[in-house]
Amino acid sequence: MTEAVITARQFDDAQQQRSASDLGIWVFLASEVLFFGALFAAYAFTRFRYPDAFAAASRLTDVALGSVNTGVLLTSSLTMALGVRAAKLGARRALIGWLAATAALGLVFLAIKGGEYYLDYTQHLVPGLNFQYAGPDSRQVELFFYLYFFTTGVHALHLIVGIGIVCTVAAMAWRGVFSPDYFTPVEVGGLYWHLVDIVWIFLYPLLYLVSRA
């Protein structure tokens, strides 16, 4: 696959095309940060207002499952990074393997998260469906769980999209589209995956850890 890099008609050369794609995904990620930024702002605002209720509510989350899931997602970022490296080296089989591992870890995360949602449901912690809480500040505890479901839900949506992207890139790798000269989709998909990971790295302590001591 030498010199088979396809340059779209609007670009002068492959180098310009690649740097445009790189900048494009970074700009998109900046937009994503602000997208989640609104949620983090809402969380901070509500938490500062009701520290006690948020502390009590935070202790109701399942820290064991949350921690395992954090490990799963961090590992998936590792496999993604190794996949990008494999693409750089032109190791097609390794690339497909790492991408498959990444997608699989993403699915594991979603499965654990789904199980966690189910446990929350059985404990009557889902606002709008069956929320019941006997302690003080029950309405504010409900607010915490509303934010918990909203933020983790939006994150899970991003992860589903990410799994779709990783599978698409893996299929492209299968067809032999990539070479050491051209692997932009791997890189772009990887950056998106890492962003989804980073969002979780902020969500995990905010929802599970902060008031647990």
């Binding site: 008609r9 494009g24 609104a38 702002a41 606002p127 909203f150």
Partner: protein, 538 residues
């Protein structure tokens, strides 16, 4: 470069004649036309709502429509005009068409993404039209909670979904422009040789990318809250409606700069061309564009002076709002200085541009009244506010949009329109606009609140003046539609550069070929080199 107009050659217009060749085109110029047609449609839907509002306000009694219908009318007017006309107006039509041409590129960096943006726009528009047809929305364009989440019985979720989707169209357009301007400039075209229009597109794109996602998330929060009956804006749970206002205005104030910055870019291009003068203090103009975009992110709290925001926050937001007037004033002074000792001709685009400068100045100055804490307590939610922002958005942004359409029409279509009719329309719009909105400053100062379909009889004279102005304005807006369409069939061929303007877009034939330039131009001089000897004959 010789004019080849009249002889059959390949242009972006004759590259395909089927409807599908347009709907599937990734050519930025064709996508610009798709946008132009769609936003014009929405402009007249929003305009129809405005017409009914002004008819209702002819008399003090609420006799034409019911209070509920009136609420829906001003909501749809606001939603459609803001998100489906003003925000995409200049960036998605003129910006789409001109950015690649002005920087000497063959297309935007991501042409398919560009087409996807238009489809998202259409999808968002369908949601909104569906909400309209199903019975409308009555929350006001601002969707304030808790009314929008708990009390309104109208189609809030459908309308919010429409705005949510169209937001992604903005984000993707912004992303495309940022990457294109960074990566695809022609050889020799350094940042400080860029036309100011490109600078304004760049600043606007930054706002698109960084502010729009916050609105998207906020509307998502509202929809979920409304659907499940629980959420962070609900005071019954300990949530706070004020939080909604913070998030909403974090987007919606910068969105005002999305409307006005491109208008400033258009005015800069037109004024230098018809004054045959370099733009005065080019670098300060470019820096002012960036300053407006950046400070514009920090002034949102001035919408909330009377909402229960702390007085200290109010003071800071007030000071920052005054600060944003500085770069805006720099631009007005520099346009004026550009005219000084220029060789001015009053062609139609110039009339629109000069109208823009005057109306923007009034709109901006009255903004300072509203940025003052004490005065705002008196004028908040009155017609003074309505008049102020219509001077910016209609007097400013729409005037400049029309100016830009007239300026680049020969480039876009290859045809000349009737200059006499165009000048007449420009003057008509200027007078119609002032007659419509100047009385509203007085009405507001006297205390007439916005968003009521009835009013005390002593306000009638001014309201009748305003409605009379609106009818003139409506004729003014319909006229260009007529003579511009006429020019498509009967207009004289324009040639590549009818205005003898500077800028790369004038160095390719009109209408441009699909790939924009026969060969990529090399730039050897700064922008607006009008004072040079060859300027007249280029």
């Amino acid at each position: 470069m010789s004019a080849a107009a009249g002889t059959p050659r390949e242009t972006y217009l004759n590259a395909g004649f089927t409807l599908w060749s347009w709907l599937s085109s990734v050519d930025h110029k064709r996508i610009a036309i798709l946008y132009a047609i769609s936003i014009t449609g929405f402009f007249f839907i929003g305009g129809a709502a405005a017409t009914l509002i002004r008819l209702e306000l002819l008399t003090p009694a609420g006799d034409l429509v019911s209070a509920d219908t009136y609420n829906k009318l001003f909501t749809m007017h606001g939603v459609i005009m803001v998100w489906f006309f003003l925000i995409p107006s200049i960036p998605s039509t003129l910006g789409n068409f001109l950015v690649p041409l002005m920087i000497g590129a063959r297309d935007l960096a991501f042409p398919r993404l560009n087409l996807a943006s238009w489809y998202l726009y259409v999808l968002g528009g369908l949601f909104t039209v569906a909400a309209l047809v199903a019975g409308g929305v009555d929350t006001g364009w601002t969707f304030y909670t808790p009314f929008s989440t708990m009390f309104s019985n109208t189609h809030v979720i459908a309308a919010a979904a429409g705005v949510f989707v169209v937001g992604f169209s903005s984000i993707l357009t912004g992303l495309n422009f940022i990457v294109t301007i960074h990566k695809m400039r022609a050889p020799g075209l350094t940042w400080f040789r860029l036309p100011l229009f490109v600078w304004t597109m760049y600043a606007t794109s930054i706002i698109f990318v960084l502010a729009t996602p916050v609105l998207a998330m906020t509307l998502f929060l509202i929809s979920i809250e409304r659907f499940f009956g629980v959420g962070i804006f609900d005071p019954a749970l300990g949530g706070d409606p004020l939080l909604f206002q913070h998030l909403f205005w974090f987007y919606s104030h910068p969105a005002v700069y999305v409307m006005i910055l491109p208008a400033m870019g258009v005015a800069s291009e037109i004024i230098t061309c018809f004054a045959r003068n370099r733009v005065f203090a080019y670098r300060s103009m470019a820096y002012a564009v960036l300053a407006i975009a950046i400070i514009g992110f920090l002034v949102w709290g001035h919408h909330m002076f009377v909402s229960g925001q702390s007085i200290y926050a109010g003071t800071v937001f007030s000071i920052l709002s005054f600060l944003v007037a500085v770069p805006s004033a720099i631009k007005v002074f520099n346009w004026t200085a550009t005219l000084y000792k220029g060789s001015i001709s009053f062609d139609a685009p110039m009339l629109y541009a000069l109208g823009f400068v005057g109306l923007f100045t009034i709109g901006g100055m009255t903004g300072l009244f509203l940025a003052s804490l004490a005065l705002d307590v008196h004028m908040h939610d009155t017609y003074f506010v309505i008049a102020h922002f219509h001077y910016i958005m209609v007097g400013g942004a729409v005037m400049a949009f029309l100016g830009g359409i007239h300026f680049w029409w020969p480039k876009i279509t290859g045809r000349l329109y009737s200059d006499g009719w165009a000048r007449f329309a420009a003057i008509l719009i200027f007078f119609g606009f002032n007659l419509t909105f100047f009385p509203q400053f007085i009405l507001g100062y006297l205390g007439m609140p916005r968003r009521y379909h009835e009013y005390p009889p002593e306000f009638q004279v001014l309201n009748v003046l305003s409605s009379a102005g609106a009818s003139i304005l409506a004729v003014g807006y319909l006229l260009p539609l007529c003579y511009l369409f006429w020019s498509l069939r009967r207009g004289a061929p324009a040639g590549p550069n009818p205005w003898h303007a500077k800028g790369l877009e004038w160095r390719t034939p009109s209408p441009p070929p699909t790939h924009n330039f026969a060969s990529i131009p090399v730039v050897t001089e700064g922008p607006y080199a009008y004072a040079t000897p060859e300027a007249a004959g280029d």
